[in-house]
């Protein structure tokens, strides 16, 4: 995946936002549900857990809801939405000639450091998303557009958490 031709620039953010808003509206208009991402990953994980150690699923109430008895955790619309999201990213990346194996980071840290941070940040994200019952897509974006009070409070909390610690991680990104 070399960059034989130059990658196309990203869309103007307001245009991208308008397109995203229309997709979000159509999701609500047609299906009644918004968008999401962490739910699909969650169910994928529960599926693997259920294959490896089904007894464990039956001991944890939280997991039981998704995979107890004969219910298949992958039998959910959110899983298909998530698979679609990955394919959509792939299509758009190919059309924009932006497919490239790389690690994005600031110049002052090594790839290894960046990967450790990515894992730690991902773990915090995954944990927080379950606690908040949704991630940036499912809570902030979708819940925000339908005016849920909790989603707006959540959204401010995400920005507050990131801005509060941004100074301490400035070397990683700048």
């Amino acid at each position: 995946m070399s960059q034989a031709t130059r990658a196309k620039p990203y869309l103007n953010p307001y245009l991208a936002g308008t397109l995203l808003g229309i997709v979000l509206f159509l999701a609500f208009f047609i299906t009644g549900s918004g968008l999401g991402a962490s739910g699909g990953l969650n169910r994928l994980l529960v599926y693997v857990q259920n294959e490896v150690n089904p007894q464990h699923i039956d001991q944890v109430a939280y997991l039981l809801k998704m995979a107890g008895g004969n219910s298949n955790p992958l039998d959910s619309w959110i899983v298909f939405l998530t698979i679609g999201t990955v394919f959509g990213g792939l299509i758009s990346g190919m059309l924009g000639r932006r497919m490239k194996f790389e690690t994005n980071k600031g110049p002052q840290i090594s790839n290894g450091t960046r990967w450790i941070m990515a894992f730690a940040g991902g773990a915090l994200m995954g944990y927080g998303a379950r606690l908040a019952r949704g991630c940036t897509s499912g809570q902030a974006l979708s819940g925000g557009a339908v005016l849920s009070v909790g989603s707006w409070a959540f959204m401010f909390a995400v920005f507050a958490g990131a801005y509060a610690l941004a100074y301490f991680f400035r070397k990683a990104w700048n």
């Binding site: 990203y10 953010p13 307001y14 991208a16 936002g17 308008t18 995203l20 229309i22 159509l26 999701a27 609500f28 047609i30 299906t31 918004g34 968008l35 991402a37 962490s38 739910g39 990953l41 857990q49 944890v60 939280y62 619309w77 298909f80 939405l81 679609g84 999201t85 990955v86 959509g88 990213g89 990346g93 994005n104 980071k105 600031g106 990515a118 991902g122 773990a123 915090l124 994200m125 944990y127 927080g128 998303a129 379950r130 606690l131 908040a132 019952r133 949704g134 897509s137 499912g138 809570q139 974006l141 819940g143 557009a145 909790g150 989603s151 409070a153 995400v158 920005f159 507050a160 958490g161």
Partner: protein
Amino acid sequence: MANFPLPLADLLGHWGSYAVYAVIGIAFGMTLESAGFGNSKLLAAQFYFKDMRVFKVMFTAIIVAMTLIFLSSALGLLDYNLIWVPPTYLWPGIVGGLIMGVGFIVGGFCPGTSLVGLATGKLDAFVFVLGVLFGIYMFGETVDSFATFFESSNMGRFTLPELFNASYGVVVISIVVAALALFVIAEKVEAMVNDTPQQRMPGWLKPAAGGLIALAAVVLLIGQPSNEDRWQAVADESEAKLKERAVQISSAEFIKYRDDSKIKIIPLDVREERYYNQFHISGAVHVPLDQVQAKAKELQFEAANTIFVTISNDEAAATEAWKILKAESVPNIYILEGGINAWLKTYAGDSISDEQRLYNRQEDQMAYKFNAATGSRHPAAEPSPHLLDLEYEPKVILELKRAPTSGGCG
């Protein structure tokens, strides 16, 4: 009534509906990637005020989607009651949000953006996704130790217009105007931090912003449909059902579902409090007629196998309540045939004496006199059906619930 959202599973079948979600997912992934959200460095730049793309894209999406949702609801195309509004669990949401904020600045992605990063070959996105899976795993392992907190401050379906006691139109237009003002500020901040002249905006931007404000103004002017408007939209079909007595279920059918472990039955007693105190059916929830509409959104959260039955002394108030709930799109809603009076006549037997009987009474008054508030301690409150094997005409048809019971994160 509003035809949207569509009952996808009815129209396309189980797997057919999943195909629709996959297509929506593809569109979602394409817009995220083309917005630059597959690139962690670009995402993190938000928090150093260098490139406020995250804020701009996200808030543009929110104001566009919000305006279109409430516009289509105002025009009667979309039923807002059948839209998934994430329930508010205030403190778990805020604490989870703070943890995610930290995760954002450390890891550089959020779950959705990491998926498109992964799809375009970003190795840090791949590692991030592994981290997310680990975090979700750890949550499943530890949630039992703070289950009380996780379930705390549950305010149900709670919206900003309800919080501020303002109309949906006022809130929508305020958010649109505030977001547009913040975009102007964001452009100035970026130029200042990067020490570059302000970027030139494409020519369509100002008219588009004006158009959005105009649409929000239309939302404000039309207003959201009232319970009366909503009833008008379903009145013909529903009046016919009432007339055919297709929704008045007999007490025998009520008891059958009460004893069916696969069905949850919620009796809604809409009578005045004094009647409710004198006698009510075991398990009946007291919801006076003037509170029925407010109760509707709570009922939407019940599982799909729930049947609601409105109850009054005869049928008049129960029918009123049925109409209100029907208009609010509450599924599987029925009326107890003959109300409490018919119930007592069937099941009270010897436990009610002849002196308790009232002969000159008005419509929807109680036909029996109770000298004490027996509530549900009266023997007739929980009759055993096998004592009387009553014949009945089955009327309940469980409809597939159209309102989603979980959002994109379940």
